[in-house]
Symmetry: C2
Subunit: 356 residues, 2 copies
């Protein structure tokens, strides 16, 4: 037994590989590897000795080499676009933390109009990510999605693919849109409008269909159904002006909060209407600005934490069993009623605490 004196170790240069550390300690490289591999066959004593020496000498296993050996990268690719919508940064942050908790580092892939999508998806495969989380509502066709995710765990978050070929997690948009319609009805509105976001996205389609359907069921009149075209303040602003100029309307459901913010400003400041007295406004997502006193926006809160947990769970499931059948997983959200639909004391201007 070559029990090496710790003092002596200090003197030599830092070991950069398991082999070097092993030589210094008089053990085999396998032992070092096993010390760092939970559940591998090694005695607790030796493991402790190695780990302590490793810490002492500032040695860390080379993740790249270990990826090559195990053919597991422990990396999850997060495919993102529309970072300008504040809903996403917080989702991504939570997601990346959730993935980290189960040992997956997040590699971000920004898909934008400017970037070369093909190349991005190629990178996804080149880097051998074990899992892919797709948050981008847009841009990617089902076919390229399937290609990009072929042979690895994959989850769509906040979007779905109708044919159920890929697992998805989302807020229950249908429930949400119905809740908004019900709320409009409950506060006595009769002529309601919908302002759409990005066309052809599942979020938008689900919200629109559910809302329109529910509005009809409740016997309210759908005065406008406007294609905002994108989820932006400007689109909301423009759409609201259109509504203000057109058929009388006493409540508007914007497909998300950013649209609603733009819409509200247009209605109050450009069109001179009072919210909610003349016209009620609701959004979707419950991003931070909905809590700002100026907006105090009624909205449907996406269960972000639950969505993240579910997404991580689904990924772990797929990693454990690659044959797992895809599933859609809509999660319940919550209607948050604020002054933009029910009015209230504007004097006190309660400043709601953040809930991050």
């Amino acid at each position: 037994m070559t029990k090496t004196d710790p003092e002596a170790l200090q003197l030599r240069h830092k070991p950069r590989t398991a082999r070097e550390l092993a030589r210094l300690m008089g053990v085999s490289q396998s032992a070092v590897s096993r010390a760092f591999t939970p559940g591998s066959s090694i005695s607790p004593e030796l493991r402790q000795r190695i780990l302590r020496a490793a810490e002492e000498l500032d040695y860390q296993p080379n993740a790249i080499a270990s990826m090559l050996s195990t053919r597991r990268s422990n990396i999850a690719g997060i495919v993102v676009s529309e970072m300008q919508n504040p809903f996403y940064p917080s989702l991504i942050e939570k997601l990346s933390r959730g993935l980290q908790r189960v040992g997956l580092q997040s590699l971000m892939f920004n898909i934008t109009r400017g970037s070369n999508i093909e190349e991005q998806l190629l990178a996804l495969r080149k880097y051998n990510v074990d899992a892919v989380v797709i948050i981008s509502a847009t841009v990617l066709s089902g076919a390229s999605l399937r290609w990009a995710t072929e042979g690895r765990a994959a989850v769509l978050v906040n979007r779905t693919i109708p044919d159920l070929s890929l697992t998805s997690v989302s807020c229950n948009n249908i429930e949400g849109a119905r809740a908004i319609a019900d709320h409009f009805y409950a506060i006595g509105r009769q002529r309601v409008a919908y302002v759409a976001g990005l066309p052809h996205t599942s979020t938008n389609l689900e919200r629109q269909n559910a809302f329109v359907t529910r509005v009809a069921e409740l016997g309210m009149r759908l005065s406008h159904c406007i294609a905002g075209g994108e989820y932006s303040y400007e689109a909301g602003y423009r759409s609201a002006l259109e509504i203000a100029r057109g058929e009388a309307t006493d409540a508007v459901f914007f497909a998300n909060d950013i649209l609603a913010a733009g819409g509200m400003d247009a209605l109050t400041e450009a069109a001179g209407l009072r919210v909610p007295e003349d016209i009620a406004v609701a959004g979707f997502d419950d991003v931070e600005l909905t809590r700002w006193p100026h907006y105090s926006l009624t909205t449907f809160s996406q269960p972000v934490d639950a969505m993240v947990d579910k997404a991580v769970e689904l990924i772990l499931g797929q990693l454990a069993n690659p044959e797992l059948a895809p599933s859609h997983n809509p999660l319940s959200g919550e209607l948050i009623v604020r002054r933009s639909t029910i009015g209230g004391n504007t004097e006190r201007l309660p400043l709601e605490p953040a809930n991050t």
Copy 2:
């Protein structure tokens, strides 16, 4: 010469390694490797033949293996926090695109109160990132920064370390704060206030010092200098209320736009003041909401594109020459004057186009 019939290739199973592809084509594995390595010694004909076959057969070099071989990961770690400030998502997006343009994939490391910072920094080293970009204004001490970036290219963006031990790129906060002070002076304000963001951050300190100094130089009175405590809407809101209750003030410089937004809402809606007639408001960053008609906020625009370009350039420089001395690189921004300081036609409510 074993010129293989393309048709025949089709029949076999897809090659997953260079060796397999090589065998299929009757060339050596080295040849395949060289075909994918720009500047390596291989005839144009053979390279073409191999690349075409690779495309045909959907073969791609394994990035992990190549990292191990070359000890270059072609990955840049981006250390981030405060994603809730909309300034950062857009910066990150541009940065990640800029890095991609030079062949670096971005690996995101979220540093937040909740997450285990040590572990994150460890991961930075484990994954052998070639370069580190640190955007997080907070949390990290100079010592841990140096440890995390030891032996690799590193750039701080939007923060600096006084001792010049790490290269940094930032907006020229001093120029910006002076410009705001000059502007307040130019529009005839005399009693001005400063609302700070995160204490101890270089952004905040530079802006505060420069502003306070310039205010004195111009003979204006600094009526308040409030510690907002963080860069948030709430902090701005609270600070503004304090100002409204305290010594008379006719202009406020908030350390960033989010603070300013909260402050403006507090001043107009809670304190009943008119902006800019009673009190002018300015922010810093030029995030999207400054263009919203409701805010139309005078601000100092950070040269994000230039900062990204510079950061990428500095990283390339360090990669080419690891001995490169660290440098600070403040870049000039631009004062953007809007209604929050000069007033103007509120009727037309011009909706400025986005400039992304």
